[in-house]
Each structure stands twice: as structure tokens, then as C-alpha cells.
């Protein structure tokens, strides 16, 4: 199991007030994403656990792009990967941010 931690400031704080959300499942080609609103300001932290090594550069690119486009400021995001392709990762991350926007 490889782990990867990425810290990056987002353009803005994520919308909504939901304290946490979870989306996806750990299955082959899929992934589980847990989002927690625990960080100050626009700080963002993404922790990735993946069974497949050697794709650090792609993960970093996917996460950087996600933070720039979806602006998940204030969120700590934990990714439990099941060998998902980058497109699936992007989609799940985007879905996670939208889930956090829901009002409680």
C-alpha cells in the first residue's frame, strides 16, 4: 500500500456547512472519498492510500487540478483507492465537494 499526502491552498473555502461526507466504494477500479471540514481558511489536505505504486506524478496532477477547479478550501480529504483511473478519481472528488455543499 502506497501513501501520499498533498497540502495545497485552494482558491476559496468550500461552500456549504456539512461537517463531513463520504462517496464511492473501495472496489476494483473505484475509490472511496471521505471529506471532513476541519482545516482553517482555504487550506486543503489530501491523503491518498492506493494499492498501486508508481503513479505519484499522476496523483499529484489530478489533485492539483481538482483543488484549482473545485476549490475545496478547509477540507481534509482521505482517499481509499481501489485502483481507479484518473477520470474516476476526478469525478469522485468533484462529487465529494458537491456533497459538502449541501446544507444540514
Amino acid at each position: 500500500m502506497e501513501t501520499l499526502q498533498i497540502h495545497q491552498d485552494a482558491p476559496r473555502r468550500a461552500g456549504g456547512e456539512k461537517p463531513s461526507a463520504i462517496t464511492g466504494v473501495v472496489a476494483s477500479g473505484n475509490l472511496e472519498v471521505l471529506l471532513e471540514r476541519v482545516l482553517p481558511g482555504a487550506r486543503c489536505e489530501v491523503n491518498v492510500r492506493t494499492p498501486i505504486g508508481g503513479f505519484d506524478a499522476v496523483w499529484r496532477a489530478v489533485v492539483a487540478d481538482f483543488i484549482e477547479r473545485q476549490s475545496p478550501g478547509g477540507l481534509r480529504i482521505s482517499v481509499n483507492d481501489g485502483g481507479a483511473r484518473p477520470d474516476t478519481v476526478s469525478l469522485r472528488l468533484a462529487q465529494g465537494v458537491r456533497l459538502m455543499e449541501a446544507t444540514e
Binding site: 499522476v58 496532477a61 477520470d87 474516476t88 476526478s90 469525478l91 462529487q95 458537491r98
Partner: protein, 547 residues
């Protein structure tokens, strides 16, 4: 003095040689090999009917067992090279030259036979291109075809899988060739006459029904959220603004997702009756919910699909059917419909390059092209207007409006990573290497970039019509190439500028909430759901029955 009758005389000689094995037109299946050795000559051009789906498998196996002293050097001219027996012909030297369209399951074996020198490759064609050559320079001397039933006069009933048969027979029978048919049964009276008996020389009742490959069944259970997202973008970003009513869909899961989104997401966009009403399409089971929801007015089919016969028989308002009630398909006419009467082709590919050229050929696999180069090409002979055709033409041209011709929408729908995480976006197509290795005069390209109008991926839509320079085109393509090397090497500023102009559109630009990209949005989530939509009329083959 010229003798103008040599072909007729040759035909007569062969008929006499074959007649020893026939009673009238009927030949016993135990004599098939002997008959073929009698009526075929070395170096003949032979069409051994292998369509996209229907296979003259009994005749193929008999020919593959022929005595190589009698039969060798044949030139095989057929659309589909699908059966192991087709390759055996080349392995044994019975055949040496090949012109074809599609190989599907034999794509790896064909590549190996090419490298070992067993096959001399003429060309990989699109279907109607090969059919056209049947009437020009590749006319078969002998056609070996397949039908459901025959009467004793040789009248043939092909059933729903008529496919290529009328075209092959037309070219062979009217040019003094020999036509041999394998049928599932001999009957007193055929349900309808698909091929008139005076074009058929010999009829053999095969020991078992001919093989039909279920090629077009996509299990909704395997459609992914990413494909649903892409389908939503295509509906919102292409079907809706262009108002595409007449179209063809490829066979991938992306287009299957779109078919399953029509009655749900399409309905919510208010598109019913405004898009996707007339189709040139194989009978895709995944279109059943849209048909049942009243979206579809008419479908003409290239071939049939296993399990769909009863459903189509019950829906003659939608499908083309014969006096007997069953589907009449015809690949040549349906490909013509795709060329001249469709406003859009949307389908997937294995690889696409920086200018939008695409190919499915790699040095390891040569699956051929089938109908895609035809569907996915703008017909320069088209002279009838439609709103979507004119809109595409205006977007793609700077000529004075009065003389602007239309354009067919040619949409490539692909995920940025394919099988085994191989990137689908590449700097150079693998078929370029293949052409070098094989010393081909022409690189096998399925769809040329200058015909492609849109590229849709999970990252967005690139509208190539709106690009004005090769540089813009390249950046638009990179701009939807996701996290492939090609995508990551984009010029971010230029892509952002293209996005401001609407050349590149993201899901959020199209008002799509990624949370909606979810399997709950599919009108059917399993093959069983499709059976339910059809009221039990669709009878899927065993391998799709998982309940």
C-alpha cells in the same frame, strides 16, 4: 476475333464439375468440400460470407480442409474475418491474399499471419468501400453465403440477418460467378424471398445453424459513472444545441449510456421528439427504453442482434420488416443511410492523436474498421440541408454564408484511459508504426482528424469546428485529454482562452452537476431491466442472463 463469352463458358465448366455432387441445386453436407474443390479454381477471388454478425461457418470449415494441391493462392474478399477457419485458409496456403473490413476476435491472429508472410494484405476497407470494389476490381469468382432456409429452387430466406448477402450475390451472380449457399433448413416454401433462386447455384443444408455473433449487446450493469457523465455532456453540449435527429451510434459503452439516458436525463432537458428520432443502427438492446418511451420514430438496421428478433417483429412501426414479419436488415443500404442521411456519427476509438486522427490498429492487433470510416466521414456529395448539418457547416467555415455547405457531426466519445490504463490520447498513432513495419503505402486511419467535429471525454467537449489553426486544434484536444501525457502537456493559458470562446467546454460550463452522474440516472440498470422494458419480448442470450 474476340470471344466475348469466356466467363460464361468458364461458369458452365465449373457448374458441370460441381453438378456431379448435386441433385438439382441441393448438395449433401458430406460433399461440401468436394463441391468447393470442383467449383473453385486456384487464384480465384472468393467471398466467404463473413459479415459483421452472420458467418457461413460450415462452408468456411469445408474450404479450410480443401486439398491444397487443388486449391491454393485464393484471394479472399470479405467484410469480416471472424472465424478461426478464416485464418486456417491462410495458414494452409489455400488463400494468400486478403481484402477485408473487420476482424474483431481474430485481430491478433491476423497481425501474426501478416508478419509471418502468410497473408498478403490488400487493404483494410470500410464496408461500402469493399462492396463498391465487388463491382469494380474485386468481383468474386465464387461467393459462399449463409441463409436461414432455402427451397429446392434455391430461393433464400435470410431471416433478420440479411446483412451483406444481397450485395455479395449481386456482384457474383451477375458477373458469371458461382454462388453456393449454406442454409439451416430446406423447406417447401420460404417465409419470404430475400435472394431469388436464379442467383443461387448450390444449396447445402448445414449440419448446424450458422453462427451469429452477439456484437451489440451492452450490459447496463457495466456502465460506469464516468460514461454517464460523458453521456450527459454529449446530450447537453451536442445533441441539444445541434438538434440532431438523424444519427448513428457506435457500439461502445459510452453510446450505450447515452441510449439509456434519453428517457431520463434527455427527457428532463425537454429533448424528446427534438433529437434522436431517426436511426441507422444495429438493434441495440439498450435503445429499448427510449423506443418504449416514444423517443424513436424509425430505425434501419445493418444486421440484427441475437435475442432482439421477437421484439422487432412486434414493433414494425419502428423497424423495417418483411411480409413474414421479421426484420429485414441490409448492410449496404444502411451504410448508405449512415453516409448520406445521418447528421451525426458518435462513437469511440482506441487511439486519437493531436490532430484528431484516430485508429484501432496497433502492431499487435488489427481489428479493422467496419463501418466507422464511412459513418465518421463527411459526405461531400450530400445536397440536402438540415438544421444541424447547416449549423455545423457555419461553425466550421469562414466562407461567405451564401455558399457555406453543411457538415456532418463526427463525434469521438472516449475516456482518456482505456483498457489496462493505456492512454487513448497519443502523440503518434500506433498504426503509423504498423504501416512502417508492414511497408504499407497508406497508414490505417479509422477517422481522419479533418472529419472529426467534436471530441468528448470525461474532462469535457472539444469543438474542433470552432478551431481555426492546427495549433488551436491541438490545444483543444489536449484540453480534454485529462491526465494522459498529452493532456498534461497542454498550454494551460491557451486552453483557458479556448474555454472562454466555448471551444472547450467542461461539465460545469454545461450546467451539469457531477453528483447527477450516477447509475440511478440510467433508464435500465441491468439486462433484466431491458427485458422488463420490452415486456418480455427481448430474449437475451445466455451469457447476458445473470439472474
Amino acid at each position: 476475333m474476340s470471344d466475348w463469352q469466356t466467363q460464361k463458358q468458364e461458369r458452365q465448366t465449373r457448374l458441370e464439375a460441381g453438378g456431379r455432387f448435386a441433385q438439382g441445386k441441393l448438395v449433401a453436407s458430406t460433399d461440401t468440400r468436394a463441391l468447393l474443390e470442383a467449383v473453385i479454381r486456384p487464384d480465384d477471388r472468393v467471398c466467404l460470407e463473413g459479415d459483421n454478425q452472420k458467418q457461413a461457418d460450415h462452408l468456411a470449415e469445408a474450404l479450410a480442409q480443401a486439398d491444397t494441391a487443388r486449391l491454393h493462392g485464393l484471394h479472399i474478399v470479405q467484410s469480416g474475418v471472424v472465424l478461426p477457419a478464416h485464418l486456417d485458409l491462410f495458414a494452409r496456403g489455400i488463400a494468400s491474399r486478403l481484402d477485408f473490413s473487420y476482424s474483431g476476435p481474430q485481430s491478433g491472429a491476423i497481425a501474426r499471419a501478416l508478419y509471418s508472410g502468410k497473408i498478403q494484405l490488400g487493404a483494410i476497407h470500410t464496408y461500402i468501400e469493399l462492396f463498391a470494389r465487388y463491382f469494380m476490381d474485386l468481383t468474386p469468382h465464387v461467393a459462399l453465403i449463409a441463409a436461414v432456409s432455402a427451397d429446392r429452387d434455391g430461393n433464400l430466406y435470410t431471416g433478420p440477418n440479411t446483412e451483406d448477402t444481397p450485395t455479395i450475390v449481386e456482384a457474383t451472380a451477375f458477373k458469371s460467378g458461382i454462388v453456393v449457399a449454406q442454409v439451416n433448413e430446406i423447406v417447401d416454401r420460404v417465409p419470404r424471398v430475400d435472394i431469388p433462386g436464379d442467383r443461387v447455384d448450390y444449396v447445402i443444408q448445414a449440419p448446424r445453424p450458422f453462427f451469429v455473433e452477439p456484437l451489440f449487446t451492452r450490459d447496463p450493469a457495466q456502465v460506469t459513472d464516468t460514461q454517464i457523465l460523458m453521456g450527459m455532456m454529449a446530450l447537453r453540449g451536442i445533441y441539444a444545441p445541434y438538434g440532431v435527429r438523424r444519427l448513428n451510434h457506435g457500439i461502445g459503452f459510452g453510446t450505450a449510456a447515452i441510449e439509456l439516458l434519453l428517457p431520463t436525463y434527455g427527457e428532463s432537458l425537454g429533448l424528446k421528439g427534438k433529437v434522436a428520432t431517426h436511426w441507422a443502427l444495429n438493434p441495440h438492446p439498450t435503445l429499448i427504453p427510449a423506443i418504449e418511451s416514444g423517443w424513436v420514430q424509425q430505425i434501419h438496421c445493418f444486421g440484427s442482434e441475437v435475442g432482439m428478433d421477437g421484439y422487432m417483429r412486434a414493433r414494425p412501426d419502428i423497424f423495417f420488416t418483411g411480409a413474414d414479419g421479421s426484420l429485414r436488415s441490409n448492410r449496404a443500404f444502411c451504410q448508405l443511410a449512415g453516409l448520406y442521411a445521418c447528421d451525426m456519427f458518435i462513437g469511440s476509438t482506441l487511439q486519437i492523436d493531436l490532430q484528431g486522427n484516430s485508429s484501432t490498429v496497433t502492431p499487435e492487433r488489427i481489428p479493422g474498421f467496419g463501418g466507422a470510416p464511412n459513418m465518421g466521414a463527411d459526405a461531400h456529395g450530400r445536397r440536402h440541408p438540415s438544421d444541424s448539418w447547416l449549423k455545423a457547416g457555419r461553425e466550421g467555415s469562414d466562407t461567405p454564408p451564401a455558399m457555406t455547405r453543411g457538415r456532418k457531426l463526427v463525434v469521438q466519445l472516449l475516456e482518456t484511459f482505456g483498457d489496462k490504463n493505456a492512454p487513448t490520447f497519443v502523440e503518434e498513432l500506433a498504426s503509423v508504426r504498423f504501416a512502417e513495419k508492414m511497408k504499407l503505402d497508406l497508414v490505417p486511419v479509422m477517422i481522419y482528424g479533418d472529419d472529426v467535429t467534436h471530441v468528448v471525454t470525461e474532462e469535457g467537449i472539444a469543438n474542433l469546428l470552432l478551431c481555426r489553426t492546427p495549433e488551436e486544434r491541438e490545444q483543444a484536444i489536449r484540453g480534454v485529454a485529462g491526465f494522459t501525457d498529452v493532456g498534461r502537456a497542454r498550454d494551460r493559458k491557451q486552453v483557458e482562452a479556448l474555454r472562454q470562446r466555448g471551444v472547450v467546454q467542461r461539465a460545469e460550463d454545461l450546467g451539469i452537476n457531477p453528483l447527477d452522474a450516477n447509475r440511478h440516472l440510467l433508464a435500465a440498470r441491468s439486462v433484466r431491466d431491458l427485458v422488463g422494458w420490452s415486456g418480455g419480448l427481448y430474449r437475451p442470450p445466455g451469457k447476458f442472463r445473470n439472474w
